[in-house]
Symmetry: C2
Subunit: 548 residues, 2 copies
Amino acid sequence: MTKLRIVPLGGLGEVGKNMMCIEYGRNIMVVDVGIMFPEADMPGIDYILPNWEYLNDKKDLVRAVLVTHGHQDHIGGLAHFLKDFNVPIYATKLTRGLIEVRLRQEGMLERATLHNYAPGDVINIGPFAVEPYHVCHSIPDTVGLGIETPAGLIVHSGDFKFDHTPVDKWITDYNKLAEFSVRGVLALLSDSTNADQPGNTLSEAVLDNAFHQIMREAPGRVIVATFASLISRVQQVVDVASLYERKVAVAGRSMIENTAMARELGYLDIPEDMLISLAEAERLPPQQVLIMATGSQGEPMAVLNRLATDRHATLRIQEQDTVVFSSHTIPGNEELTHSVINRLFQRGADVYYHPLAQVHVSGHASQEEQKLLINLLRPRFFVPIHGELRHLKQHGKLAREVGIPEENVAVVENGYPLIFAEEQMTIGERVPGYYVFVDGALVGEVGPQVIQERDKLGQSGFVTAVLHYDRQKGKAVGQPRIITRGFVFTPGAEDLLSRAADVIRSAASVKSGTSSSKVEDRVERALSDFFYRETRRNPMVTVAAVEE
Amino acid sequence: MTKLRIVPLGGLGEVGKNMMCIEYGRNIMVVDVGIMFPEADMPGIDYILPNWEYLNDKKDLVRAVLVTHGHQDHIGGLAHFLKDFNVPIYATKLTRGLIEVRLRQEGMLERATLHNYAPGDVINIGPFAVEPYHVCHSIPDTVGLGIETPAGLIVHSGDFKFDHTPVDKWITDYNKLAEFSVRGVLALLSDSTNADQPGNTLSEAVLDNAFHQIMREAPGRVIVATFASLISRVQQVVDVASLYERKVAVAGRSMIENTAMARELGYLDIPEDMLISLAEAERLPPQQVLIMATGSQGEPMAVLNRLATDRHATLRIQEQDTVVFSSHTIPGNEELTHSVINRLFQRGADVYYHPLAQVHVSGHASQEEQKLLINLLRPRFFVPIHGELRHLKQHGKLAREVGIPEENVAVVENGYPLIFAEEQMTIGERVPGYYVFVDGALVGEVGPQVIQERDKLGQSGFVTAVLHYDRQKGKAVGQPRIITRGFVFTPGAEDLLSRAADVIRSAASVKSGTSSSKVEDRVERALSDFFYRETRRNPMVTVAAVEE
């Protein structure tokens, strides 16, 4: 009997966030292909792709990619995916615009087939009927997906919140959800990001007060930093700024590209005469200027960090500037963000950030909204997605609180297929997959071993010993050469290094005829022991015994 | 004319948190000597000392160290300090106990002169009269300091909060503060840690509800992790556990040492028959067991991380365990802590952490309490301390809101002396100082250059090329040797490395007689360019051209 399979792909991070497969018979649809950002224990990695190796022998079966919204963790992997799979991509208008910006940057736009879909559409793909429906999130034009399958109706929430007063006035589609509920929902897959936040997520409307106060009281320029894709925040800030007769300049490549595209598509309403260049902004009285900028995470190359360290080509922080961080800090970026804030203060700016002022709200549902979605849909099975294990567990608890039986809730990690047949849900065998690290031009060539080496090098540096080895005499000839970086400050460590040279010579005194590789092993062990004894550190030690 | 000088010492972090000097004429008192914990951009560093080089030519003038409380960021540097300065240390009873534990660990206990002081005492040190007064904080026996000086009365708040219902029932000493106010306060130096938190910090009493609920509902063992020095939290958890007839086992060296010491000194009241060993805990029914453990920050070697990764010698996480993180996560530790939480869930435990449950409150005053302290004391001058620049700026704003004139508020960074004379406050020239990195047995030998090298190595690894160079012929002899770690996975990169060997040979083809160091430079540049072109990465490249 044919079964419906739903497979979240990716590594240890958020489940199903970046990619998910929905399969029936010889038909596979992919929901989102995004990127993850590296954690602290993945040094040097630019970003991470979900590993879709599992699909490699199913290439003919993949029919389409359905995209829920335009954030990088949902679209950032499409360029790589299209190199392996030549399939159409479905997206709403703004999402498509953001996908095109990214594909163009990566030189893949010509190879892509893009289709628009919109709330209300029904798209038939093989045995599936896909019905996108509108949800509120921190970017306009976000959808959840109703998917009719031969096994029953699946609802995939996408990233969502219930905001009664969103900036674009377009609320989450309660009617459609009620209609799904009447039809009967086999399984709900729902966003767990904020499952550890009690209550309801605040509406974007609450930010108006803070922005009004800031624009009113700021003695000079106002610089607002947020995510380049947070189009609705840009609209909101610009709307308030216009009331205080401030003109708007945009700084930062991705912010410039996204706002241009969103204006063109009609998702961002900024009158032509309100937009000015950075050069024009310099000539206006400071109280008439608003600058929208990138860098709210403290990213070293973004506008805000450049301003904080005085490395921006044209902009310079002035005494009366007010800087607003209108974003939450992604875990892991706290130190960087705080250091940028401190440096902006140091240069004389006034800085607003959460919790000092209510300048950001989350785009994800909190516990009460998560329960509301479950109660609206009354699904038979519940699968928390889009969160780490701790969020999924909590979301599972909430589902049980509102009456979903424990055995009908499936908390799974990436790679575990959920199998639906005859009104039953089971969990299948783990499929291959994990992370693919992207590091410069290296895609997938940097794996866990290299990461481990980087970690060790980053902790204690390295020492490479180069010696001339005379195999016949079984000893080192002349002075060994010691190259070291990231271990000790060499001008101050002559004594340590000259004693290390003695250690090398003595470890290289061996029986005549001993192979150089044996000598290398001996020297490496002796040096490692020596350095640990002397410094309580373990630098990475390598040895090259060059034979005469 | 003799002036009063107050000098906060340390690096870019929190101002005056770890060390502060109070000087008048030929008399210097030091308040606290603590350690900082390294940030993400200080790889491999164990901890950081404030640099007290400024005191080196004033050794005879240093009269005493006054300690406000027993946290490591206030006492952890004393062992190092005593090696340079043989001066008496004043501390309250519990604080002294914690200092003794640390000095014993570092083999410095015999060389220390420790004096007790207590709220109500007046200690005369040269021209100073020091009056410790009790304040609430997240550790018992914390004091603030009133310091009568020839220039006027200085109040140093220490770390504090106003808790009306603290665990040890000992509230912050309002009477003493009122008395100081009547005498007239020249300057208040006040804790800014929570200056960006509106309202009042919650009382420790609010935690009782959460602990009652957890102990009542937990189907098996309860494991509570917190800071080893959070003695009052241990008391609170144990008190609730006893109502549910759970016995207490303690896991983790520092937790064991601190609870033993605190019991001995009477700061921790755990009846003998309630304390059990981990071995005994294994034999009791799980619902009768509470385990207090270290590792609430996810530290790799602490109990909780060992449990999460199944590396603990005797304990093992079981299906029905409940784990509580009763602490806040120090910025920078989020990813580590979240990963430990996820792994504990993975092993079947239920996990409570903030904000899922109210299992931790801060030990520092929030905005309303900070304003209360200023209003209680009505100081002439106000100096925000114990915070990053962003906190100090905010605290300065609060002071102005409650009526301290702008020109009487001094926001300074570490190293800037505040000078008081004739009822005036001025800011002096920056004194030398900064950080001293402690890295294994290396104290102060690892500086910014080594840290930069580690950073680069941690991002992209290294490549060392070793070649035989024949100066007469001006070329490399035989195959160059390439050693690389943390850059590319070598079994998969043969092609890249064999092309790199060609690059080396060709860069080493030079005019006859060229020096080997010139050849090394040429090869290094050529290799760096080659690798960047091929991989868009910049590994650290070093070259050893060994002459025939």
